[in-house]
Symmetry: C2
Subunit: 341 residues, 2 copies
């Protein structure tokens, strides 16, 4: 929660938007105004095995609940935005085969939500939606273009160029976690069958855990050497905060892997801003370790790019936390709404 | 020359555009109609040491020459597009420090051409302009998005997303030759001081020549082993056409390096189409060796991406040859003209 979730409403007739962020276990639902302020919020369980139609009915119910609580006329809400994990066909409004939603495959989720909610729905990849949230009212709010990396179990992303989200021909835009940072035959394997050397295999929470376990098993000296089986990114962060030199070095190496991918991203679309989001941020902006992590990303980028490009490119932490997804989904709905006017 | 350069004009009042492509030794100038057909063409020497203002005056003269020859009222031409090598500040219309134009540094080239030509001028990076040309009437003409790689002395590029060229915050958009394909400390060095492992160091004509020389000096068995000092990409192509196994393998390895970069490009912006342009194409579409080169790029991409992404992504040779730059410059002018209407 980065902002106040309920405010008293002024009655000016600016449009409102629902933003819905579907995760593996929970669904976040927010109502925002035209400036991105959250007016109402609700979270429900995904209940994945009950299937997507049931979930979309419960989302619509939760939306009505938000309106009821605020005493708001439903006509004030003009559009909803929906973010879900891939794979998906954004233009067709279809879920394809989201790996953590085995009961939701090949489902026309946009049509389902539109019928339940009686509103037009804009559709996005969840990480793309988070990117749009940060772009709209977060770290990217004064920028025209931006790349977001979401560092979580995997590495997702979103690319915004001149105020437009890059959706991609195959709804694969912004899948920066699958950019190649190591072409060698012994590079780490992509967990999704995408081959070797993808950024995600190095800089996601699972990549980090696997790398750490291997180094510790190979005899690295660390506070964590005795708890190899319990290793997580969070524990590495905690050990680093306690001054464990191996953990600090390991975190900086992770930053350097990210820097390789970021260099390629910047040299391709030159966004001026790269934002690091997601929970796997080693403490993030408010911790010395997080700052060290960010510095290692910046240093690695500086070593691989040109002086003028480096001077004109910011690398920053995200600022909306776990709210970025529903806020961005609302923002995409807003963008589509204003375009259609 | 891929199309007829002079046609009889119909007198319908659709707008015409000049496209100007500035190179190190020559400047190509074309007049196109609203559909991209070239109505008139002229080429002049760059005469680099005489400076950019002189060159822009001679460009304007050549433009008037084209109109005179066609007996065309100058008012039919509504805008010009100008492509030059980087570095540049596109938004400010400035050349910064183009390495092959030492006498042209820090020059307001757009203002200079606008004054000489008495027309509004759109400005682009030369490789970006070539990308836009292929996108407008070449290999990309039925696509909404596209990435072009220009394989020449260096590797340039251009990225078009949903009909818009990605210019970038630092006028560095589409510099795909500087994406990282090898992060190792012994990776090849970027010729421009950008660090190690950039695609250009492997897949440009100079990268190819350096790599070949090293392999042959290390004892590779090849028709070319006796002429190491004279090695060029063209000679490697010729040897491959004669069936030299080392040359064929070398060309396929070059294709695989490109595939690493292309995988990252596709996973970032998912354009649906990647086009290989430039002269360093090992014979291109009309030769068996060129086809083998293209096949190796496609194979390398297939090995590193996901099945649905591979199925939805085309990798093709460019089709406009050396005309892509001026055609694309005219196309960018056309795009800006129609946007302003």
């Amino acid at each position: 929660m980065t902002q106040q979730k309920t405010t008293s409403l002024d009655q000016a007739q600016s449009p409102y938007f629902f933003g819905i962020d579907v995760g593996g276990t929970g669904i976040k639902i927010g109502l925002t105004d035209d400036q991105g302020a959250t007016l109402g919020y609700s979270a429900i369980d995904t209940l994945e095995p009950q299937g997507p139609a049931d979930a979309m009915r419960r989302v619509a119910e939760a939306c009505r609940g938000i309106l009821g609580k605020l005493g708001l006329d439903p006509s004030r809400v003009v559009r909803a935005g929906l973010g879900t994990p891939g794979s998906q066909d954004i233009r067709k409004g279809m879920l394809i085969e989201p790996p953590n939603h085995p009961h939701w495959h090949h489902f026309p989720i946009v049509k389902s939500l539109e019928e339940s909610l009686k509103l037009p729905v804009s559709y996005a990849n969840d990480a793309n939606a988070a990117a749009f949230g940060e772009f709209w009212i977060g770290t990217g709010k004064i920028h025209d273009s931006m790349v977001l990396l979401t560092l979580g179990t995997g590495v997702g992303g979103g690319v915004i160029i001149d105020n437009e989200l890059v959706v991609g021909r195959n709804s694969f835009g912004g899948e920066c976690g699958h950019m190649i940072i190591d072409p060698s035959p012994e590079a780490r394997l992509c967990a999704w069958g995408g081959g070797r050397g993808h950024l995600e295999a190095y800089a996601s929470a699972s990549g980090v855990t696997a790398r750490a376990r291997e180094e510790l098993q190979a005899g690295a000296k660390s506070l964590l050497a005795s708890q190899i089986d319990k290793i997580t990114a969070k524990r590495i962060f905690e050990a680093a905060e306690q001054g464990d030199p191996w953990s600090l070095k390991f975190i900086e190496q992770t930053g350097d892997y990210l820097a390789i991918g970021i260099t390629s991203m910047v040299h391709m679309v030159d966004p001026g801003l790269v934002v690091l989001g997601g929970a796997m941020n080693f403490g993030g902006p408010n911790s010395p370790t997080g700052q060290r992590f960010l510095d290692s990303v910046r240093r690695g980028f500086e070593a691989r790019t040109f002086q003028n490009v480096q001077a004109g490119t910011h690398i920053e932490f995200a600022s909306l936390g776990a709210d970025a997804g529903y806020i961005g989904a609302a923002g995409i709905a807003r963008s589509d709404y204003h375009k259609a006017l």
